[in-house]
């Protein structure tokens, strides 16, 4: 059952000649095609392109020039530009946009020999926590199709949960990798800001946007990150650091690991099943040799209001480029240039995107900048200072990824503030720029997956991947398969 295997497992099978990339790609393309009407995880499926890449991967392997990712089928979130293959950003604005170049992370994974099967569905312009804002329809949660898969990278998460691909990419601006990983029962890693270049991402909030991998295991996330990280002069915020092998510490035991437990993550408002699963996970870590220490992150409760000033402010500026002139949707009828801008943008953007542009425009407008934007940036520092202090006492911070498991379609879509609160535990990772992973740690009584978040200090990806990997060696939550996709 090749579709159930991990990247590491498939890589071994490919290396041993037990499986070809063409066979694997064909199997997965068939599954993708069948699942599309149920899950809607993909916006674009590129069967011909994928098979051509798979043939090339098999040829490279025959030549002896294969790496660990050669011939592994993956998918990219549709906010990440792929030369020659449509990139919609989940929006009518870019319904027919074909990018003229590859994003840095696309180049990296291509050079590593991966096979791109298609582009995954997402909340429009990555703005959402449920995949309900996509112009191309909602993505369903493979564990129960009446529930959301999380967002904004919901298609990437659902595709892995349903065993359609073993790995995919996402972007995380306020939790858009970790929250859907949690709600869909898979792993999602947000690296340190600046570790993966943003070149070729369609920008949402530039000081927060972070590309990262999705997979079923921490080990697979490490393998993908190895191909996605690196310095890139085309992104001025890309960091110049020595190359790392993110798999290097995976097999190290956890004895001596200090886990910080912020009391703010375990208070009111956490679903009972989520709290119980997270407590059990922490008990498991203790069995593996970790110790726990209570820490305080008093300013973290302000993450959501800070985020909903900073992210919309940056978005209102970034999305001003969509004016119907150089690319994207242009209205069919207009009277003059101003009318063309206004109608093109009114038609091209959906309701949530427009709301956030309006919030951002307001907080940056004359007379309000200091009260909102500057204030939010000051509180952002208070939050980052909390984390810096906390990491003097511990190596990783553990807690729930989201306050509840997946919710039903429509449950929060009329109340933006309720929707935003879903990201209460993930946003701080973006405001600080520190890395974090979400891994499966249990199920609710309704059979919906629960995610555990492990946060690390700057550049401690290898540490949190090691902790996650050791936990996954001792547990099997990550190996559970939704019954309709076994």
């Amino acid at each position: 059952m090749t579709h159930l295997d991990t990247i590491a497992g498939l890589s071994a099978q490919l290396a041993a000649g037990k499986l070809s990339s063409v066979e694997l790609t064909q199997t997965l393309l068939e599954r993708i095609g069948k699942a599309q009407s149920t899950l809607n995880a993909f916006v674009t499926i590129d069967a011909d392109g994928a098979l051509a890449q798979a043939r090339a991967a098999d040829a490279a392997r025959a030549n002896g020039s294969a790496g660990p990712l050669t011939g592994i089928p993956i998918a990219h979130k549709d906010v990440i530009m792929t030369a020659g293959l449509r990139t919609t950003c989940g929006s009518r604005m870019l319904e027919n946009f074909v990018a003229p170049y590859d994003a840095f992370v696309v180049e990296g994974l291509k050079n590593a020999g991966t096979v791109l099967v298609g582009k995954t569905n997402m909340d429009e312009f990555a703005m959402g926590s449920s995949n309900e804002t996509s112009y191309f329809g909602t993505v369903k949660n493979p564990w129960n199709v009446a529930y959301v898969p999380g967002g904004s990278s919901g298609g990437s998460a659902a595709a892995i949960a349903a065993r359609l691909v073993p790995g995919s990419t996402g972007t995380d601006t306020g939790g858009s990798i970790r929250q859907p990983a949690s709600l869909s029962g898979i792993c999602g890693l947000k690296p340190t800001y600046g570790v993966c270049s943003r070149y070729g991402l369609i920008a949402f909030a530039s000081s927060l946007d972070t590309p990262g991998p999705f997979a079923r295991t921490a080990e697979d996330c490490a393998l993908l990150l190895n191909a996605m990280a690196g310095h890139d002069a085309r992104d001025s915020t890309s960091l110049e650091r020595p190359r790392e092998d993110y798999t290097r510490d995976l097999e190290q035991p956890l004895a001596g690991l200090r886990i910080g437990l912020p009391r703010e993550y375990f208070g009111d408002g956490i679903d009972r099943d989520v709290a119980a699963a997270v407590d059990a996970a922490i008990a498991q870590f203790k069995k593996l040799g970790a110790t726990t220490v209570e820490i305080a992150l008093p300013a973290v409760r302000l993450s959501v209001p800070v985020y909903y000033v900073i992210a919309p402010a940056e978005a209102s500026s970034n999305l001003s480029r969509f004016d119907g002139v150089r690319y994207g949707h242009r209205a069919a009828h207009y009277t003059d240039l101003l009318d063309m801008y206004k109608k093109s943008r009114a038609e091209g953007f959906g309701a949530e995107v427009k709301r956030r542009i309006l919030v951002g425009t307001y907080v940056l407008s004359h007379g309000y900048y200091d009260a909102y934007y500057l204030k939010a940036q000051q509180v952002r520092r208070l939050i980052a200072d909390d984390f810096r202090r906390a990491f003097e006492q511990c190596d990783v911070i553990a807690g729930p990824t989201a306050p509840s498991a997946a919710f039903k379609f429509g449950a929060k879509s009329d109340d933006p503030v309720q929707m935003y609160l879903n990201d209460i535990f993930t946003i701080a990772g973006n405001l600080t720029g520190m890395p974090a992973i979400s891994i499966p740690c249990g199920f609710t009584t309704d059979g919906l997956p629960i995610g555990l978040q492990l946060q690390g200090d700057y550049f401690r990806e290898a540490r949190i991947l090691q902790a996650a990997h050791q936990y996954q060696r001792a547990t099997d939550w990550h190996a559970r398969v939704p019954k309709d996709f076994s």
């Binding site: 003229p100 302000l302 240039l337 943008r345 940036q377």
Partner: protein
């Protein structure tokens, strides 16, 4: 700092998004709820706190002043709704 319905029309104009009266009323109610949440920040004492504009304390790098891009105008202009003779076409702005 209450946000009025007039503010909604003003910022929609600044953001170049057409909005009719009904849509403005609807979005106004949602923006009021969002700003009620955001306004929590006003109660926080941030005297003397240096604003954090970025996740990494870094200075912007400068590259050598040399041409690195090739001319891909035709390729880029294929993405545009309307072009002619290498120019992007927009409605007439000068009488």
């Amino acid at each position: 700092m209450a946000l009025s319905l007039d503010d909604v029309h003003r910022i929609a104009h600044l953001a170049r998004i057409e909005i009719d009266a009904a849509a403005a009323r609807e979005v106004h109610a949602k923006l009021e709820a969002i700003f009620a949440m955001i306004n929590e920040l006003q109660a926080i004492d941030t005297t003397g706190i240096v604003p954090m504009s970025h996740a990494q304390e870094m200075s912007l790098p400068l590259r050598d002043d040399v041409v690195t891009e090739s001319d891909r105008r035709d390729e880029f202009q294929k993405l545009a709704p309307a072009v002619a003779d290498g120019l992007y076409l927009v409605p007439k702005v000068i009488e």
